[in-house]
Amino acid sequence: MGAFSFTRQRIDASGLRQQLSDPAAGGYASFEGWVRNHNEGLAVRHLEYEAFEPLAIKEGERIVAEAITRFGIEHAACVHRIGDLGIGEMAVWVGVSARHRAEAFQACRYIIDEVKHRVPIWKKEHYENGDSGWVNCERCASPAVHQEHAAGHGHHSHEHSTHAPASHGHRFTGADAAALASTHGRVAAPVTDYSRQMALKEVGAAGQAKLRASRVLVIGCGGLGVPVISYLAGAGIGRLGLVDSDCLEPSNLHRQTMYALADIGKLKAELAADRVRALNPDVDVRAHVLRLNALNAPELIAQYDLVIDCTDNFATKFLLNDYCVQLGKPVVFASVYQYEGQLQIVRAGSACLRCVWPEATRDGIVGNCSEAGVLGPVPGIFGGLQAFEAMKLVLDLPGQLKDELLILDLLTLSTSRVRTMRSGDCPGHAIGRATAAQTAAVAQANAASRNAHDPATELSFDTLDQAQESGFDIIDIREPKELVEMPAPGGFARNIPMARLLYGEPRFAPKGKTLLLCASGRRSLAAAQELRDRGVVDVYSLRGGLKALQANTAT
């Protein structure tokens, strides 16, 4: 008899059990599926099973062989009935003998789940009312301990949960006393089940071991971070570090689907870590409640093998880029904007973020100050892509995004893949620049830790009159259209749109002390910092922009 077989006769469980006995085995687990007297509210009189045998036997034997390799068990076998069966008869039997109970249970579970999903067997139900119907057994596959049963997909099951062993349905038997005790308890502790991903030939036991051995750091627990964290936790990543210093806000929930309304005001890194613990206790999850800066980044990154950038600002992205290039850690970057986003992977030997954006982009320079807005699924899709690319890296799967920037516009579903091949000055050049940027970032972080605000660049005024009286040349850097919509009060400001101020010809030449203003103070701060970096002195940004002035006028 092969490891998987069909029979038209009554299944003799005790005879089959004998065949699995082995002096090296310390435990035995079996599963029996029985014909139940009802399905979806209809009383069932008897059943007929039919299979395409040559194909079904091959697939069944493959499943048993997989279980033996994956779980390292001693022996396993499965027998399925075909033909006509009455109520209470055994339709399927699975037996496993193993050194220890854990792998006996896992392998037994694996075999029955896979047989129900993959082996072509059909079931015809004959109902009490005289009707009958064929049911593809793939549809009856869902042991009730799975979430999917609760979700309503398990109606065709002719088995019931191990949670309710007293009712009609299957039963586990165990020679191992401890195993017996655990199955006979009313509530069996749920265990993580990676069978669906391990069934992929590219994953298998070896791939699962790689996932388990990997350590992934996720920076940002927001729109991108939520899907990344969920999928990586589900996949059984060994260590998951979650970095975020923010608390959950009501406006987050439309795209950050892991959290609840009741969580508002709580720290996202901690909420996410709790969720990971609930989802998969195998994962060693670590919440890092901090904002990544030049002082804490190196030590944190060193504890992980792979970094996923789920942040929403250039400053952190470039900081991550610089340290990861230096430490040789791969980073999966993603950014979204309204209905689209960009994906790039930086790793040893590839183009880095500075190769693509040599003009280190400042937050506030691109886009306008008001929130650009985003539909929930956009970061969901990009976070999903990040999780997937991370798994490709860990599992060493083909088709990894390399030396390319992927741009995906979800409105038109158009994709651009732009090669990040670079001229001779990269990556050496980029690393040199990155190191210089790091030095500057450390100095900045040190200064920031001494003084939370940078008083030198931002100034507050109650009115623009005050600024003018203090001798400032006031420059409104907004676009002409914005000026029409909301003119700056007082008429002192001259208009030079930001692009012209920073890049126009001739170069901007200050007339003494300069105060830049925009709608909210974000663009003006970025522009002031940019000009200062180029050596322009005495250039300042109006803190809070016109909105702050209006608030002052209102009070």
């Binding site: 940002g220 927001g222 729109g223 991108l224 971070g225 950038d309 789920c310 942040t311 929403d312 600002n313 250039f314 992205k317 993603a334 950014s335 979204v336 904007y337 309204q338 689209e340 986003g341 960009q342 693509v356 954006w357 003009e359 982009t361 937050d363 320079i365 691109v366 886009g367 306008n368 650009a372 985003v374 970061p379 920037l405 741009i407 516009d409 409105l411 038109t412 158009s414 651009s416 893949r417 732009v418 090669r419 990040t420 091949m421 670079r422 676009e479 002409p480 259209k481 749109p497 930001m498 692009a499 012209r500 920073l502 890049y503 126009g504």
Partner: protein, 83 residues
């Protein structure tokens, strides 16, 4: 004119918003991506200077001063940081 060429142009992020479209086919005498951007800037309220963007020509990052050829595909890409 014989110097005119047909260029496929794609816009992303804030440029898409300002152009009011994702892509278009442009007949132009522009010699370089910079010429082309300046020409389009007269048509659309682009707020970004070329220095703030990257240009890709035929699926490869290119230079603003590169020569354009008939049938080229040009993508203007602003950096984005949302998450």
């Amino acid at each position: 004119m014989s110097t005119d060429k047909r260029i496929k142009v794609q816009y992303y992020a804030i440029l898409r918003e300002q152009a009011g479209r994702s892509d278009e086919s442009v007949v132009t005498a522009a010699q370089t991506p910079r010429d082309l951007y300046d020409e389009l800037k007269a048509r659309y309220p682009f707020s970004l200077a070329p220095e703030m963007l990257r240009v890709a020509i035929n699926a490869e990052f290119g230079e603003w001063s590169q020569r354009l050829a008939d049938g080229d595909s040009v993508v203007f890409i602003p950096p984005v940081a949302g998450g």
